[in-house]
């Protein structure tokens, strides 16, 4: 209690004798309670990430919270309550559904459908060969072409992907990491062929390679040379593409790999700070690029924990950017983020239940103040989503935005004893992880030691065990199971034709282009890879303009940088 008297400015104002008397009565009554014994009751005393929980939160739990320093007002440092003074009253979040499958022409059709149904921006999902830097006709690509996303082998495919879409008007998010610099070069070249200058292009490139080594595993080159590619991209975009978000530092995949909320938060921010440090080490002024960094988080099913995570993310980021990295521009302090509902929370059993899960997760993201949102479709745990299920997912966001009224008040859970205490807990856990990472010598060293991989594997196993023991319930999976479920949901199929057609078209492309020009530009790219002072981006744009394929460009870069292999950690 002494702490409360020390900090009378906090949420926990000094309790009156009457309040203290009530507290004592509650304690006595609470002690007499008999705990539930049904399935799921084994985990009532902790969050899904195993953060211990009290029965109820009260002023004493936030006694250390300083209103001005820790909470402030929306739009004010440290932005715990949001980065905009009026929240969603001035501007709703961007509804951005991730989509891509089959060929560029098929995906282009889906994009026209989404834009006609009120979606604000596009988000490109690439197939595995494209993400791993292989052309569709490479032996490594067999069975994978067009399955997880759209196959883009060269500029020719990128041109088809955006056919009939005004690239100067929409914003595009591209989820690609290993070969992100090539996708960016293709996007620029496709737009410039339509007469749209690169300076007018708005969008986001994921390009977050560190989380690939940590969780998603779609890498090509080793971490150290890849950090140079990132710095080159950030330098290039800072100079030439003022509307482009250079990198989207992603916790989504870390969470999907099985991490806890605090691990997602800490590892993602640590990655972000590693990019900031790399750019600063290359001589860039932090305020010249920080305003274009953005984040991407998961929204999982533990409602309040997620909200606390988003709020803590903003506060931690603001503090580090101002205090540690010396940023002066307020924009450099503001953590902006995209959210996607948790794919790993969806179940194959009774898939319609996923609609409900997604709605809760989406609401957590909105109460946490997200800038844009992807809601998963109910059938994504089984296959690529059908048009019907994508529409339901988008409608979920529209109901949230226009019917529930949760958008009318900024940070409506601010001041909740529970949410504030949990926000503080998230921040404390993240800081403790930062200290552990620093002991390894930094993020790259911690990756090389398998630290993140071990932490995540441990957390995911612990979680799975709690499902096995039914300490936690997943409806339709370990409780409320329905025998003989009907399999009547329509699934989208990607045919073998897609793979054969795409492989044939890239082979055909190679016979039609100016081979001398391809060889010349690839050679100058190799030279640039060897010269750390030469920015790679102009060379990459030259390469894609000759219709050099992604596989050829990756091969040229790998001839200098080598390829990464992981030491598997169980």
């Amino acid at each position: 209690m002494a702490k409360m008297i020390d900090r009378p400015s906090g949420l926990g104002a000094q309790p009156t004798p009457a309040f203290e008397e009530q507290h004592r009565r509650w304690e006595a009554a609470s002690a007499k309670g008999r705990s539930r014994k049904d399935p799921g009751s084994g985990a009532v005393d902790r969050t899904i990430s195993d953060v211990p929980l009290k029965v109820v939160y009260a002023p004493e739990d936030v006694a250390g919270l300083d209103l001005a320093e820790d909470l402030a007002w929306p739009g004010e440092y440290p932005y715990t309550r949001g980065i905009h003074p009026n929240g969603y009253r001035d501007r709703l979040w961007t509804m951005r559904q991730f989509a891509g499958f089959g060929t560029a022409a098929q995906t282009n059709e889906r994009y026209h459908f989404l834009l006609e149904h009120g979606q604000h921006g596009l988000s490109v999902a690439f197939d595995m060969p494209t993400l791993m830097g292989y052309d569709s006709d490479a032996p490594q690509s067999r069975g994978e072409v067009g399955k997880c996303g759209v196959a883009i082998d060269s500029l020719a495919d990128m041109e088809v992907l955006f056919d009939g879409i005004d690239m100067g008007d929409i914003t595009t998010s591209m989820t690609i990491n290993g070969p992100a610099c090539i996708a960016l070069a293709q996007y620029i070249a496709a737009a410039e062929k339509k007469g749209i200058p690169r300076a007018k292009l708005g969008g986001t490139l994921q390009a977050d390679i560190l989380k690939e080594y940590i969780a998603q595993k779609e890498w090509i080159f080793p971490p150290r040379p890849h950090m140079r590619i990132i710095v080159d991209m950030i330098q290039f975009c800072t100079r030439e593409m003022p509307k482009w978000n250079t990198i989207s530092i992603s916790g989504y995949h870390i969470r999907e790999a099985g991490s806890t909320a605090a691990q997602e938060l800490a590892f993602t921010l640590a990655d972000g700070f590693a990019y900031v440090e790399a750019c600063m080490a290359a001589g860039m002024d932090v305020d010249s690029f920080a305003g274009r960094l953005s984040f991407f988080f998961n929204s999982h099913i533990d409602f309040f924990e997620e909200i606390a995570k988003f709020r803590a993310a903003r506060r931690i980021y603001a503090r580090h950017m101002r205090e540690k990295y010396g940023a002066k521009d307020t924009r450099s302090w503001q953590l902006r983020f995209h959210t996607q509902t948790a794919g790993c929370s969806a179940t194959a059993q009774q898939p319609e239940n996923n609609i409900v899960r997604v709605a809760f997760e989406a609401m957590a993201a909105v109460l946490g103040g997200t800038q844009s949102l992807h809601t998963n479709s109910m059938d994504e745990v089984l296959a690529l989503p059908s048009e019907k299920s994508v529409e339901i997912a988008l409608r979920t966001q529209q109901v949230l935005a226009y019917e529930t009224n949760v958008t009318n008040v900024v940070d409506p859970l601010g001041g909740s004893y529970y949410v504030e205490a949990l926000t503080e807990e998230m921040e404390a856990q993240a800081e403790s992880y930062f200290a552990q990472i620093a002991e390894y010598g930094g993020v790259i060293e911690a990756i090389e030691s398998g630290f993140f991989q071990r932490e995540i594997a441990e957390a995911s196993y612990r979680y799975q065990r709690s499902i096995e023991t039914r300490d936690r319930v997943i409806v339709g999976v370990n409780a409320f199971v329905k025998e003989d479920e009907p399999e009547n949901i329509d699934l989208l199929k990607i045919t073998e034709e897609t793979e054969r057609g795409q492989a044939a078209s890239v082979r055909d492309l190679r016979t039609k282009r100016d081979d001398a020009a391809v060889r010349r530009t690839l050679e100058s790219l190799r030279a640039a890879c060897r010269d750390p002072k030469d920015n790679l981006m102009p060379h990459l744009i030259d390469c894609v303009n000759t219709y050099a394929t992604e596989g050829e460009i990756v091969e040229a870069m790998a001839s200098v940088y080598g390829r990464y292999t992981e030491r598997a950690v169980l």
């Binding site: 399955k147 997880c148 790993c344 992981e566």
Partner: protein
Amino acid sequence: MNERPLRVVIAKAGLDGHDRGAKVIARALRDAGMEVIYTGLFQAPEQIVQTAVQEDADGIGLSILSGAHMTLFPLVVEQLKAQDAGDIVFFGGGTIPPEDARRLKELGVREIFTPGAPLQTIVDFVTRECGKRRTPAA
């Protein structure tokens, strides 16, 4: 009966980096007393079967979440035949629609587990099927 514990290869094939499920299964089998060899990512079907043969494994569990299952599972089945290892219990899991799972079982994949399958069910399956391989009908 058998002094040596059951030995199982858990594999990831193709370009699919989703390794959460594979790792959880590997640990669960290990906790159940089996010897588990995890191949790591991006293995070719040939390599997976070679590993199993060299390690004298009783079973192979293949995890695929990228949608390439109808290509990669049959390639492993083919390799099992080619390397005269058809008695190894081959099972798998991932985002695999029911219709595809049925077709894969017709091709010789012993069982397909989809997201949400209880670990105990998988452990029981491997114990039973690999156990049978050790003690052919007496």
